[in-house]
Amino acid sequence: MEVDYEAFRREVTEFAQTRCPPEIRAVVATYRKLSRKIWQPWQQILHAHGWGAPSWPKQFGGTGWDPQQRHIFDEVMAENDCPPQYHHGLRHIGPVIIEFGTPEQQARFLPGILSGEDWWCQGYSEPGAGSDLASLRTAARREGDEYIVDGQKTWTSHAHESDWMYTLVRTSKEAKKQQGITMLLIPLNSPGITIRPIRTIDGWHHVNEVFLDNVRVPVANRIGEEGKGWTYGKFLLERERLGGANVAPALKNLERTRELVAQELAGETHRAKRAALELRLLLAEAELRGALALGKEAVAAVMEGRPLGLLPSVLKLSTSVTHQHVAEVAMDAVGERLAPRFRRIDGSGPNAEAPGIEWVQNYMYMRVRTIYGGSSEVQKNVIAKQLFGS
């Protein structure tokens, strides 16, 4: 059946505009860091409409949309300041459970993810591992029907508000480092787990250290085979390669920054500064329009079953840096009056944050763009290897 993409876009747009609560959209529009408090109700609304899992197969409660539709959905959500439907349950572990989980695991875990009742976080990164994920050291030893897990995870987004953590642990030191890794699903209320916030430069609390001290995990919570965890982890990374194809959030950010510059630097006094910032935004827009076009190419490739080649790396590099440039322009516009008001301490006025402070937080936060999800350095290594043929 031919899909009428324009009709689909209209349908999604109308849904976004009428069903997404204004208080949720306001949070997205002001770049505040999204928490479970924001995401969960939105997930419930989507689920109730049958759109809880655009990227899952229909038999597991997915929408059955093709890649083009999923891309349109993501784009429209961004254009309308709906939260990006990017939680770890739905986009990460859900698909892994669908692909590699037992029927019991599927029955146990998928409904909670779909409804938004269960909240998940990802326990991959470890101190000292960085981009070299496979050098992880958190160890699990088998004892009867349980694994005993010992170690430390870090950069664990949303651990402090999650119910579950899917994690990679080392079950063998004999094999080469990618082997001997196993994937476990761990309830975060298990005895022996301590979660500590990491203080990040953006001033938001979103990542944590997770300490695991003799944590007992039922073997039933293991995904697939022992020692094959790296494969499941990689499957997930492969699946998410189209993530960078959605340039709509960056364009939205650009437009907002344009308005900010126009307002903040209105009038003759600021003409030179305004002109300089507008020019920088224009150059950013040109790059984003290029990325937008490449995103369309990527979606088309996936639709036609063609390989993506270097497109995901190019998209990641282009958009991450441009995102940062745009955030820098905003910082240059408001920094003098807002960078000093990063954290309100006291005051005779209402004890809220300074209005607009999200521009400063966002500037700080944006530095992460070139680090997470494959750092720029790793992406360039990948590209060079392909270009040079070795």
């Binding site: 224009l282 790059e287 490449l294």
Partner: protein
Amino acid sequence: MPFTASPLVGGDAYEMAQRLALEVDAELSALSDAGEQLACLRRHWDAIAGLGWMATMVAEDAGGAGGDLSDVAALACGAGRGGLPLPIATACVVAPALLAAAGARDMLAQVAEGAARICVILPDAAQDPGATRLSFDRTLEGGVVGVETPPDPTHLLLATKAGELLLLSVDSPGITRSLSMRIDGRLAADWHFVGVAVAQEQVLARGIADQADRARDLGALITCVEGVSAMGAIIEQTIAFLSDRVQFNAPLASYQALRHRVAEMYVEYENLRGLVAHALREAAATDALPWRDIALAKLRLGEAGRLVAHETIQMHGGMGLTEGVAAIRLARRVMMAEFEFGDRSFQADRLLAQVA
């Protein structure tokens, strides 16, 4: 296998244009006398005219092939890989568009068959500071400089700021010119007009300012196509050079600092390629030319193209400063493209005017 750039528009026309461009480049590189170079350019101009390049976008009922922009893009894409130093964009797109806007069917036919070699002067053509501004009021006065031209031009097609379109024989009394080679080896002419009388029938049209803008944007788009194509070839050749060249007992291709910079060149190239491909698709899909996409692409060509050109020079080391290296000749083509059909600042001004 090392990188091979995919053409924006491939196919037979692309392959043929590429072959021809590489031949011409090889021929020209062996010549040092300006006269011989001129003759070579003229010969190849006649060849591509004979192949019907200039007829591509001329309507069939005006003696053309009735093709569309993507047919010209295929030629520009092939020509771009060899830096073919002939005015593709002007001859295949800008002049036909202007003549079509004026309904000048006879002249279109002459262009299509290659009998007329037209030098197009657009309203924003460069002028020397302090020189008499170009003005037209029955007679033409003033001058323009550095206007790209085919070899031995027969006609001047001049779009004035006021929106008139004039067609003059280059031999008209009061017209003088001097000829130069641009940094990319193409021909350019300075034109000077002293009391050049313009008859009624030489004014092909009035009130075509918008169409002149459109013609310039079409030229900019084809220039972007050429530029992207040249950038792809430059990256290929840079990779080949770095792979072959051994320094301090290791191939340059093994140095991570250089590898990362090539990756950056590639990202810039791909991003621009995406944007230009998009603008081409849009131009084909709609009647209204996507001028904003074209302006953004032209802006990026200035930024990304110059980065790629500078980097290939740097990575070629001393060789990067010589005309003897094909990648360097392409780099000069890309550097020159910045100044064609509106430079970065021209494009930024019009885009910002629209934003505000």
